[in-house]
Amino acid sequence: MKTPVQDLETFSDNALMLKVKDGHLDKLGLLFERYKKPLFGFFYGMSKDAELSEDLVQNVFFRILKYRYLFRGEGDFKTWMFHIARNVNHDHYRKNKLGKAESVESWENRLGHDDAYSVQLQQDEETKMLTLALDRLPVDKREIILLSKYQEKKYKEIGEILGCSEGAVKVKVFRALQELKAVYQQLEKQM
């Protein structure tokens, strides 16, 4: 009998997802193990809220299950998944409009109960600054940088997620990094 670890190595994302589509829902567990961290990282990068990010990761996998019949196996599973992740993120902010009206209490709450955030605080200065700079970027620029990170700079695939050309994605990444650099330098001066 094969162990999950062996399965992880032998099955491609697409093959696994096609199995899920055929009704072998168990196989989604393997995809979950592969992608829970990048997805969590993406949502956390967007919201800085660990609990919310976990909920959103869960939402992504719920949607993958719900819309599994839409997966055709032609494109890349990861691209499809991040497409869903982006929609989940947008839907969440559209519903709650959290980004704009956050109370101080919710921040305190988050700092108090969020182990992940305290881990974050222990990281080195440079990373801390970068995180801060990233947080100060507008949502769309932060999103493109995180997508570039978690999609491992596959600009063509990111273009599929965003619905634009590879060239346009590169320009977006360029602009976002430009701005990140500017914010970063500004923070350095303040320190």
Partner: protein
């Protein structure tokens, strides 16, 4: 733009010397694929920092919640799910198949069982044709030429059902036509309708009206076939007639014998 100028722009950017207009140019070149992001050193450094940057780990709750959800969904997917059945990508072929079968059904029904309305039309048409044939037959019977009258009588053989008008005309011809062949043909034409008791009794009565031995013998033979005993009386009258030829008498006597 020449490659040299592009290189110049890139190095200017890397030195932090590019002005906004030049940055715009760089953006265009990036979009066209003539400058790769990896050429822009300073940005690459920042990008690498972002890539290295590790996000915190999700807690164990995420796993628990996920596997709980998977379990629930597995339970659900085993049973019949209406939303899944009607989910468009899967439902579309089912719907298409059902529609095609429905159309085939309708077509089959239409082809193999003609609708009552078309049935009615056909019946009406048939009726009209029959009426026309009858009219033609009746008018032909009044012609002087015996051939025409023979044609008229033979027309009835093509009719599956006839009106009283036709049978009366045939009986009239059998009794009164001057041509013996026509009379014989009329008798032949009446044979399909002998089930009708009125026609049978008319035929019996016709025996006394015939003078031609040929017709008398033909009638006698028919009476034997029908076992029409009421005809014996009429047939005996022929026997009593002095003018009846001997051969005919012999024939008729035999016919009477087989019936009694």
């Amino acid at each position: 733009m020449e490659q040299e100028r592009i290189n110049e722009l890139v190095s200017k950017y890397n030195e932090g010397q590019a002005d906004p207009a030049e940055i715009k140019q760089i953006e265009l070149l990036i979009e066209e694929g003539r400058i790769e992001l990896s050429q822009l050193r300073e940005l690459v450094q920042l990008d690498e920092q972002v890539m290295r940057f590790e996000a915190p780990e999700p807690s164990g709750d995420l796993d628990d919640n996920f596997y709980q959800m998977l379990k629930t969904m597995k339970g659900k997917s085993k049973g019949f799910s209406g939303s899944r059945f009607f989910a468009w990508p899967e439902f579309a072929p089912k719907l298409a198949f059902a529609s095609v079968m429905l159309i085939i059904g309708f077509l089959g029904g239409y082809l193999f069982f003609p609708s009552p309305s078309s049935n009615k039309e056909v019946a009406e048409l048939k009726g009209e044709v029959l009426e026309m044939k009858e009219m033609m037959m009746l008018s032909l019977l009044e012609k002087e030429s015996a051939t025409e009258r023979l044609k008229a009588v033979s027309l009835t053989s093509e009719m599956t059902s006839v009106s009283d008008k036709v049978t009366n005309a045939l009986l009239q011809t059998l009794n009164n036509d001057e041509n013996i062949n026509v009379r014989l043909e009329a008798l032949e034409a009446l044979k399909p309708f002998v089930r009708d008791s009125r026609i049978r009794s008319e035929l019996v009565r016709s025996i006394g009206k015939q003078e031609s031995p040929l017709v008398q013998v033909a009638l006698a033979e028919l009476m034997v076939q029908l076992q029409e005993k009421s005809s014996v009386k009429e047939l005996k009258k022929i026997l009593e007639n002095e003018n009846t030829p001997r051969d005919v008498k012999k024939q008729i006597e035999e016919s009477i014998k087989t019936m009694t």
